[in-house]
């Protein structure tokens, strides 16, 4: 029994590799290799990335435990595939969305709303990929 608990803990630790995706999102804010974001939006974006990423990965792990059994592999594969796909779709939409926001910001209040939209649009792909990676690792661990 104790060895099973240790195995579960080890599995959790490995599954939390999903959080590395969120951390990559934070890193990208400073290295500018992936998706562009105005420096003035960095701080709130980083906080949201870490907090929302942790919650999403936590929920995914809980779901993995809830689905333990013969159907886990197919469930995990489906979750990983769907969330990865949605993440890439959101990533593809990001730059056109930023262009749209830049061309339609005509006031301070609109700019503030657009800031929130842009932060959400930046966080969403990383959130999807965090869930996908967590589910993917459940297939192999």
């Amino acid at each position: 029994m104790p060895s099973a608990t240790l195995k579960d803990i080890a599995k959790d630790v490995k599954t939390y590799v999903g959080l590395a995706v969120s951390l990559f999102g934070v890193l990208n804010n400073y290295l500018h290799v992936f998706m562009p974001l105005a420096p003035s939006l960095r701080l709130q974006t980083n906080v949201i990335l870490i907090v929302v990423g942790s919650i999403a990965v936590g929920i995914t792990i809980a779901r993995i435990y809830a689905n333990r059994g013969p159907g886990l592999n197919s469930w995990a594969a489906r979750v990983a595939g769907v969330w990865a796909g949605v993440g890439f779709l959101a990533w593809a939409v990001y730059m056109p969305l930023v262009d749209f926001l830049a061309n339609h910001s005509h006031s301070q209040s609109a700019s503030q709303w657009f800031d929130a939209v842009q932060v959400g649009a930046y966080v969403f792909p990383f959130l999807c990929w965090s869930v996908a990676v967590a589910a993917l690792l459940a297939l192999f661990l």
């Binding site: 562009p36 003035s40 830049a102 005509h106 006031s107 301070q108 609109a110 700019s111 842009q118």
Partner: protein, 263 residues
Amino acid sequence: MKLCGLWLATLIAVAPASSVLAQCSAPANSQFQPFSGGENKPAGHFEWYSAAAPNPRQGGGHPTHVFERRVKNLGTTTLKYDWPVGRMHNDALPPGATDPFCYEYGWPNQTDGPLHYGRGNEETKTTVWEGKDEPKPGSIWAMFAFHIGTGGSVETVSIRVSTSYRQASSGAFSYRYLFESLQGKPVTLRWGIEKDPALRENLKAREMSSEFALEGKRELFFDSRAEPATGFRRVDIVVGGKAVAGVEVPMVIPGEGLSERMN
């Protein structure tokens, strides 16, 4: 020269807001050539400008030079910019509007740094005139104006910040801080004094917060044994709880007695 200084001081004290803002410029001079530039890209179409000149207000503890910076939005949508070396930022400068910022400080040096603009990682290289260390001034003023787009209209917030100190006979220092809304409009300011315990304690003693409403003038006097230093502190314009625009203004600060170097 003294008469000229007195005349200028009187003019600034009684002039209407628009005239005061019109004076927010460094006089043309051959000693310090202004720096300017701009971009015309989808992310932003704007001009920036930085100038320095000998201070027309000589004596009275005023620093030796004046500095002027501005950012003008030439585009058709709002411009989001952050200019760290220019010490200015605005989340949404309306189309056609110009944010001016001027202040007095020490001998000019030039510094390079980026101006970030737009919603991505775009930036443009800039060079600005900035003040270098000099013996502590007794009195410093700064003026700035920001254009805040609210729905269909544009609100201009013009602020003058003046700080000074004098040594009292007891050996303590008497500090004076003046924040003035040049158009008399109510505005909420956030004063970045997190690392200044003497200022924080004095605000607390007056049941004031570092975020305060300003309608007309607000003056703050207090005595402190802390020696005066000079440094830049952030003054942000707060709308809906968010600092939407702001600058770092030079001021006299009760501190360690050493002037902070502008970085």
